[in-house]
Amino acid sequence: MPLAAWVILAAALFSIGLYGVTSRRGAIGILLSVELMANAVNLLFISFGRYRGDHLGQVFTLFAVALTVAEVVIGLALVILLHRVRRSDVRVDEVKELHG
């Protein structure tokens, strides 16, 4: 089983996530896509770690997973807050307070 296969799979997953991030309008949709991308990276860590033959990749992945969870928590909190402010679907292209 060549390593390249795993890496390409991860790249595909990452690209799909990228597509989602750039095309979704809803905040939660973007959050989901970000999860996909993070997942792709985790997959890469594990793959490389496996082909290195040690635990390092897994250790990293563990930390990364924990971080992702934190990120999701904050992200969702923000979404809920925005929802309260706007009382509607949280569409990120309507949030423009920071425009120049």
């Binding site: 690209s15 799909i16 095309s23 989901l32 996909l36 770690g49 033959g53 635990h55 969870v69 999701v72």
Partner: protein, 185 residues
């Protein structure tokens, strides 16, 4: 041979579910498809001889994150309807960008000499545990602080009132501010 078939199945499932995550019209569906993606990834971890991470993946992600997401989705909707729109737009530029990225990465991978076969794996979960709490203890502890901070932050942002005071919470104050801005404009 058997691992190649397993890889094929996992890859196929993974891509399919991921595509559905970003294309599904219904947000709830998207979340559920993401759940499938995450589970499939756990399968991939198993194939890569990382059972512990695979179990973490299922426990944390599939159990925690997906649940959270569903809560989030539900909390931000009033409607009785389970069909929550998850719109996309400007798909064109997104598609081009992601395809270009994919092409770039693939090209890079193919150009790089990577090992054809995995070396025999000798590790165990016990060793992983020692690794985490041994050389990487510092990072582990920092991470725990981070998680604590995230938890506190989430509560501060989302709750309604500071305990023991009549002052509205930060989130509510932002909300009020935004409303007054709207009133002005």
């Amino acid at each position: 041979m058997i691992d190649r078939i397993a890889f094929g199945v996992v890859a196929l499932l993974l891509l399919l579910s991921a595509l559905r995550v970003v294309t599904s019209k219904n947000l709830v569906h998207s979340v559920l498809w993401l759940g499938l993606t995450l589970v499939t990834t756990a399968g991939a971890y198993l194939l890569l001889s990382a059972p512990f991470i695979a179990s973490i993946q299922i426990l944390l992600y599939t159990g925690g994150v997906i649940t959270l997401m569903l809560f989030g989705v539900m909390l931000t909707r009033r409607g009785e309807d389970i069909a929550i729109p998850n719109e996309s737009s400007e798909g064109g530029r997104a598609l081009i960008l992601s395809l270009a990225t994919f092409g770039l990465f693939t090209g890079a991978v193919l150009k790089t000499p990577l090992p054809q076969e995995a070396p025999p794996f000798t590790g165990s979960t016990a060793e992983l545990g020692r690794e985490i709490l041994g050389p990487n203890l510092m990072a582990f502890e920092v991470l725990s602080v981070l998680l604590l901070a995230a938890m506190v932050g989430a509560i501060v942002i989302a709750r309604r009132r500071d305990p023991g005071s009549q002052r509205p919470s930060l989130g509510l104050r932002i909300e009020a501010e935004a409303k007054s801005q709207e009133g002005k404009s």
